[in-house]
Symmetry: C2
Subunit: 209 residues, 2 copies
DNA sequence: GTCTATAGGCGGATAGAC
DNA sequence: GTCTATCCGCCTATAGAC
């Protein structure tokens, strides 16, 4: 609206120190959560002084929100839509199996994502707007991809494709939560293929196990 | 092993002050999580002095663990097995619908349970033993009840009843997490009956929606 | 057993030099 | 822009009176 010099378009990720602070803060907040993270540790992790942290971000809450918003809107937005689902020639059991495996691969291997979900859920009482951003950008993306696939793939004729999408995503995310995030692998062991194969057998018609 | 006077069998819930501390600590820890809760606020909530808190429990960590263990082992152990599933005469769709509705009723109405899950997941990095206790006493209980039902009810003949149980519990718990705990109700609205009906249609054979 | 008072440290945030 | 040094409050935990 004014004739001022153009600003850096998105958030200021170009400054070297600013980037370091975001990376350091990310490391600490994802490891410890919001309350247990101190600005001293963030500064140390970013290898800058605490005053420099406060010159780039208004306060602890502002830094935390900036970091989580970046993760929600940029880094993990597409984690639940890892492959193209516009291929209606390939057998649905192939497509769905590939989709489930990629979701679990990404989420299981990247410890960052598990810590990210831990923080989102753990802080969802104190930071409801971040939880909503997660639902909008991460969960809803997965729902949409699967709902569209179940709607448009001619092999399916579900009365409520969106509900089936919820069941698919929900089964996989809950599996991730119990086996990995809650350290349940040794308590209630289950190979991921058992879950995925049973899920696909329920969803894909004329498919006997 | 000795001739000493008999002690109170389980944890000491009989002392009036001790009970108040557990209740006050529960209120604060479930509302704020571990790190954001101060022992001053616990003492205030319990209407005792801080020194009294420390005379009943070794330290903050010990109090937290005592409270969460109580919730995991006593209060919420049966939240995922709310009705008898030994009735093989009633139609499975009736049994399963009732089961799903009771699980979601209890968990949705009791805000305490949502805060409890938030804390379990949020602190599962710092307190893995509490997360494992949750898996053992709460999640695995639900898995077992449904696996046994799918195994013994003659209407079913699943290749992997345990995996089907995971899908059932996972769909419902994930629905609870997204709609309630992550405040997604207004972002990705869905009546619970849509989820439950679609889930039952997938699981119960010869049942058309 | 329970209290008041306090020790001792770490927390978020800022002042002021460069 | 970045630093060092510091303010001040709240934190966990305890000492000592009753």
């Amino acid at each position: 609206m004014t004739n001022e010099a153009p600003q850096i378009p998105e958030r200021n990720l170009s400054s070297s120190k600013g980037e370091a602070i975001l990376r350091g803060g990310m490391q600490e907040f994802l490891k410890n959560g919001y309350a247990a993270t101190s600005m001293d540790r963030v500064a140390k992790a970013a290898q800058v002084s605490k005053a420099t942290v406060y010159s780039h971000f208004q306060d602890k809450e502002g830094l935390f929100i900036a970091i989580i918003k970046y993760l929600v809107e940029e880094k993990f937005q597409t984690i639940f839509e890892p492959i193209g689902t516009d291929n209606f020639a390939t057998e649905p059991e192939i497509i769905l199996k590939e989709l489930a495996n990629r979701m679990l691969d990404t989420a299981s291997e990247e410890l960052v994502f598990q810590n990210f979900m831990r923080v989102i859920i753990g802080e969802s009482g104190r930071f409801p707007q971040l939880a909503r951003a997660f639902v909008t950008n991460v969960e809803a993306t997965g729902f949409r991809v699967l709902r569209d696939y179940f709607t448009h793939c001619p092999r399916f004729n579900f009365a409520d494709p969106e509900a089936i999408a919820r069941i698919f995503v929900g089964s996989i995310v809950h599996f991730l939560i119990v086996q990995e995030m809650l350290h349940g692998k040794d308590i209630v062991p289950m190979e991921r293929d058992r879950l995925i194969d049973s899920l696909i057998a329920l969803i894909v018609p004329d498919k006997k196990m």
